[in-house]
């Protein structure tokens, strides 16, 4: 019978690159991304699933990296904020946030853009834009410019 382990090998595909790492199986995917893979674009806010700062795409769907033990990410395909731009060009949503001033201090921005990107690609996934972004909290902008940014991205889709 299998014994409990405190270290295991996990395979991840992050932004198209394959990784194999030895870690504690309960290490948060957030910490693996930031510490082991040095992808610090994904932020930690509350660390308990309420603020959305750590939103990534997990097997194609938005999910909170602070809630995922890395043992449950074995074999997963992950996209982080670093994976949205290509050839040095911002993605549609990143460009809209830049143009519309949808960011201030920047802590919520990566998670906000990950949620917005999924919604723009999958508009039936939420009742409306407010639901799509309801899991992402911002303490700077008052949200108007964020919503303006998402609407602008929709227009340019």
């Amino acid at each position: 019978m299998k014994e409990p382990v405190k270290e295991q090998t996990v395979e991840l595909t992050v932004n198209g690159d394959n990784y194999e790492i030895n870690v504690h199986p309960l290490k948060r995917l957030l910490d693996v991304l930031r510490e082991d893979l040095k992808l610090t674009g994904t932020k930690e806010g509350c660390g308990e699933g309420e603020c959305g700062a750590c939103t990534i795409h997990f097997d194609g769907e938005p999910a909170l990296a602070c809630m995922i033990p890395v043992c449950q990410a074995d074999g997963a395909e992950i996209t982080t904020i670093e994976g949205l731009s290509s050839d040095g060009r911002l993605s549609l949503v990143q460009e809209a946030f830049h143009q519309e001033g949808g960011t201030q201090c920047g802590i919520c921005t990566p998670g906000m853009i990950m949620s917005a990107t999924y919604y723009i690609d999958n508009p039936d996934s939420a009742e409306n834009m407010r639901e799509a972004l309801a899991g992402n909290q911002c303490r700077c902008t008052g949200y108007k410019r964020i919503f303006d940014s998402v609407e602008e991205a929709f227009k340019n889709k």
Partner: protein
């Protein structure tokens, strides 16, 4: 804040049989499904040293819900989103409403139905909707499986009628018969990403004489566990939905619920709003 992990370990089972054997060998091992409750507990330092059974590593467990001629079957890895976006499963309207009201999409994509039931929060959206459909749990262990009605599953705050050697193998939701009216309302401080102050899930079927033929009423956040309102249901069966009947049903409701004051709400608010929801549901259900 990063949780301290050295007191914790994980077992990655390879088969359903192994899951049962591991739990039989050490009943203190905790099944880990979606993980959305785990890190809140780890962060708050309320978990004793434990080993977790990573249900996701078991290839025998499915994720997709399955609709048969008689029931909808949810597996150990079926997430809230797997029901919300499934065209067969989301026709169970109360399940769909529970999905939309459970936190936010980025949590719905991780959290599982089995976890929602087993975590046994009194305010669980999923458990309330499942109970209103008379869902049955298939519990599994080394001795085999047995079934228990979700309405019989809770016996106190976070106390389950399930042995530690068992886990929830399937949740079976009978297909609803036509002719029932359904109601789901969850009252929180904001529309999304909010834990319920109170919630009510209801289903009602009127007879030809406009009397209540049958009814299901389930309340959340007003009792130590998700509560089937048996006395209120019993009172309503066979009665015409007059104003007097509705008033009396509301009195029954007040006798059954035991809300408390806590960080999310207080008992007076919960009593008043739960009654308002029952009244709304019954009045909406009256024949025109």
């Amino acid at each position: 804040m990063k949780p301290y992990l050295e007191d914790y370990a994980v077992i990655n089972p390879d088969s359903e049989r192994e899951v049962a054997e591991i739990l039989a060998d050490d009943p203190e091992v905790i099944p880990l499904a979606g993980g959305t409750d785990l890190f809140v507990s780890l962060k708050n330092g309320v978990l004793p040293p434990s080993a977790f059974l990573n249900m996701k590593s078991c290839p025998d467990f499915e994720k997709e819900p399955e609709l048969t001629d008689s029931e909808l079957i949810l597996e150990p890895l079926t997430t809230i989103s797997d029901v919300r976006y499934d065209e067969d499963a989301n026709r169970f309207r109360l399940l769909y409403e529970a999905c939309k009201n459970l936190s936010v999409i980025s949590i719905q994509n991780l959290a599982t139905w089995a976890g929602n039931v087993a975590n046994a929060s009194p305010c669980a959206n999923g458990a309330a909707a499942l109970m209103a459909y008379d869902a049955t749990l298939e519990l599994a262990g080394v001795e085999g499986t047995r079934e228990v009605k979700l309405t019989q599953f809770y016996r106190g705050y976070k106390e389950l009628k399930m042995e530690k050697e068992e886990y929830i193998r399937r949740i079976k939701v009978p297909r609803p018969e036509p002719g029932w009216k359904e109601y789901y309302r969850d009252v929180g401080p904001r529309e999304y990403q909010a834990i319920s102050k109170t919630l009510l899930a209801g289903r009602i079927q009127l007879g030809r004489g406009e009397e209540v033929n049958d009814v299901r009423l389930v309340a959340g956040s007003v009792y130590p566990h998700t509560l089937k309102l048996r006395q209120t249901e019993d009172y309503l069966r066979g009665r015409e939905l007059t104003e007097e009947t509705i008033d009396a049903a509301c009195e029954k409701l007040q006798e059954e619920i035991q809300p408390v004051d806590d960080v999310r709400s207080n008992r007076q608010y919960r009593r008043r709003v739960t009654e308002n929801m029952l009244r709304e549901f019954l009045q909406e259900s009256r024949p025109l």
